[in-house]
Amino acid sequence: MKSLLSKISHSLFHHLTWKGYWEPLVQRFKPAWRDGLFRAQITSATYLNPNTLQILLSPEKKWPVHLAGQHVSLTIEINGRLTTRVFTIASGASTHALENELRLVIRIKEQGALTPHLPTLSPGQWVNISPPMGRFALREDKDMLMIAGGSGITPFIAMLEDYTSKHAAKHSSNGCKEHHSRQASMKPNIHLLYYAKQGEHLLIDELSNISSKLPNFAFRLLTKANDGDVERYLPEFYTYEWMVCGPQSLYGPISKNALANNISLESEHFTALLPTVFNSSEEEQTFLIQHDNKALHVNNQQSLLTQLQQASVPVNYGCGMGICHQCQCVKKQGIVRDMRTGELSDNAEELIQLCVSQAVTNLELQS
């Protein structure tokens, strides 16, 4: 059916997809109706602390239910421009089933392209989400150590929420306290080490609530300043399997430790976070770019087009001055500088013109 409609729209309306042809019209009646993405309606947006926002979303019925630990991309229109970022879902599939609700817990980054605009979302507003992605999931047959850093608590909250509703529900229907604890003691242990800055641990009430329902779950709230590095806590968990969600600075030492001790490690670390201060373009730097299937090094002095041509990569080009859009390609990720204005691009996927763009970070391009 879908391919038939695509054929029709291709041969009768010159549009790649049927939905694409109708999109602007349907959006008049169904805001944010978009080809290839799901709609979701904002239920609420509230601050958990001065720089962390909790957003509740109610996705449309067609949305495939996620597994705890998965993430979605969130797309919102900011001044006419669609901007997308990926966030882990901070609620379980059980909540989704009960209340048709998803929760995102998002740290607002002042310089960000998307997050500073999130507080302006109002209840009832429509946004877009992707299908759930990722395979970061809890194993229930092994002793598990969860290590969270900052907003990296989100997948674990989702996992624990689902785990609780699955196992705690059984107990209460059982009604037998003794049986309950015996059964619990047979269950594998789950231990959470949660690092955050002093006073910035999120969702503590929920964690306490879960630990009161699950005897096999315990958690520790840690700060680097008071409690030291994560390595000192790891030896007690050498018999566990480990999961990490947090910044590279947390993930790095843990992955080394896991490797040295032959421990299975699942992770969802924030990959190479962008440098917060960009060096001025005068200082020469080299970056790695992936162009289609070819990898090469480029500097931040010349345009990407010049360097691709020097490396004999076949690229279309035209005027060389940013007018004709012939050298345009899709930047999958990374930041470029517009050589005409000095403006820095977004980190997400967008179209760029190679002849007037310089690399500011590593890049992934698609012609």
Binding site: S11, L12, F13, H14, H15, L16, G20, Y21, W22, E23, P24, L25, Q27, R28, R34, D35, G36, E77, N79, G80, R81, L82, T83, T84, N316, Y317, G318, C319, M321, I323, C324, H325, Q326, Q328, V330, T341, E349, E350, L351
Partner: protein, 363 residues
């Protein structure tokens, strides 16, 4: 073509502008508008697309009701022609210029958009955006100047065929979509192997031919086979309606485009003049190679704002609706530099085009 330049068109301006200042002033106008481009423009282009869809479907349905009342058919033809004009001009041309790429929309961007015309979008994009917009009115580089069919300045040697070039022009207008499609394929070299050494090929001839035939065929099948067949017994009503709508669109687009570049006062340039040109010189050339048409709101939308051809050539990737507010500022800058801001009513500009075609049909 010869490099001899007998000049009929204001060749030696005594007072060239201060190029650097010109560039600064025009850049300032651009920066100011670019900062304001946003939600308003996104909503605007979507509104135009919605209007296009409504016109298209109204047109297609009314074409089939012609057997009840021929007036309905006639309204259908007008409605479908309007849809095609909107699609080609305000939506297609402008979206494919990258004016709306900043929206990050999967369908409304210069890479994805394909228009309702025989000419393949990506081929058009290459020739139009690159050759025409970069080398505007440079004889020998901008093949859009006269489309290789008409002699429109004395930069070209007179040939006997120029005697009847007014008829060639009428035919070109009638079959404009095919003229454009064939032209953008760089027809003379793709099909007959004539090489021009000043042009770099980044797309192979085989690819170009394939695109020409696949898009052209798709367009023919759509207009003259599929839609008429869908109408069943009303085949001929729809067939004729589509043909007429295409004709109206061809005449309109051709007329507007000719008014933008071939009015009497539009200047041409030599390749040598433009080697290593600065941004200011580039702006200058764009400015004198284009002409505007005055008119009302609906008129501007139907021309895809090519009635602001000067502003379009100066700022090809600014959303076209913004040319309206840029125009007075651009005009003031031109006046300051003593440059001619070529504008006038449709009647004035079009008669000037016709005169030019006739004038150069004679040696």
């Amino acid at each position: 073509m010869t490099s001899k330049r007998t000049s009929t068109i204001t060749p030696n301006r005594s007072n060239k502008p201060d190029y650097e200042k010109l560039a600064q002033q025009l850049n300032a106008i651009k920066t100011d508008i670019r900062a304001r481009v946003g939600n308003e423009d996104a909503q605007y282009i979507k509104r135009v697309i919605v209007l296009q869809r409504v016109c298209e479907w109204t047109g297609r349905i009314l074409l089939m009701l012609g057997f009840l009342q021929p007036v309905l058919w006639a309204v259908g033809v007008l409605s479908l022609a309007t849809a095609k004009i909107l699609d080609n001009m305000e939506i297609g041309h402008n979206v494919m210029h990258g004016q709306y790429d900043w929206m990050n929309d999967k369908h409304i961007n210069s890479k994805a958009y394909e228009w309702d015309i025989a000419c393949d979008g990506s081929s058009w994009n290459r020739v139009h955006n690159y050759e025409h917009h970069t080398y505007t009115n440079i004889i020998g580089k901008d093949r859009d100047f006269g489309y290789g069919l008409l002699r429109l300045s004395s930069d070209f040697r007179w040939r006997v065929k120029n005697l009847w070039q007014f008829i060639t022009y009428l035919l070109l207008s009638v079959f404009f979509q095919w003229g454009v499609a064939y032209h953008e394929m760089a027809a003379e070299r793709v099909f007959f192997g004539k090489k021009k050494d000043n042009r770099k090929n980044t797309v192979t001839h085989t690819q170009l031919k394939k695109r020409f035939f696949s898009k052209g065929a798709r367009q023919l099948v759509k207009d003259y086979v599929l839609f008429p067949l869908l109408a069943g017994p009303l085949f001929l009503w729809v067939f004729a309606g589509n043909a007429l709508a295409n004709l109206l669109r061809n005449l309109w687009t051709s007329t507007i485009i000719f008014c933008g570049h071939f009015t009497g006062d539009v200047e041409t340039f030599k390749e040598e003049d433009c080697k290593n040109e600065t941004q200011g010189q580039w702006y200058y050339r764009q400015a004198l190679g284009s002409s505007n048409i005055t008119g009302g709101n609906v008129f501007h939308v139907l021309t895809g704002h090519l009635s602001f051809q000067i502003e379009h050539h100066l700022f090809p990737d600014i959303p076209a609706r913004r040319y309206r507010e840029m125009a007075p500022k651009v005009k003031a800058v031109f006046e300051e530099h003593g440059m001619h801001y070529n504008t006038g009513s449709f009647v004035k500009q079009y008669s000037s085009v016709l005169k030019r075609i006739l004038r150069y049909s004679l040696p």
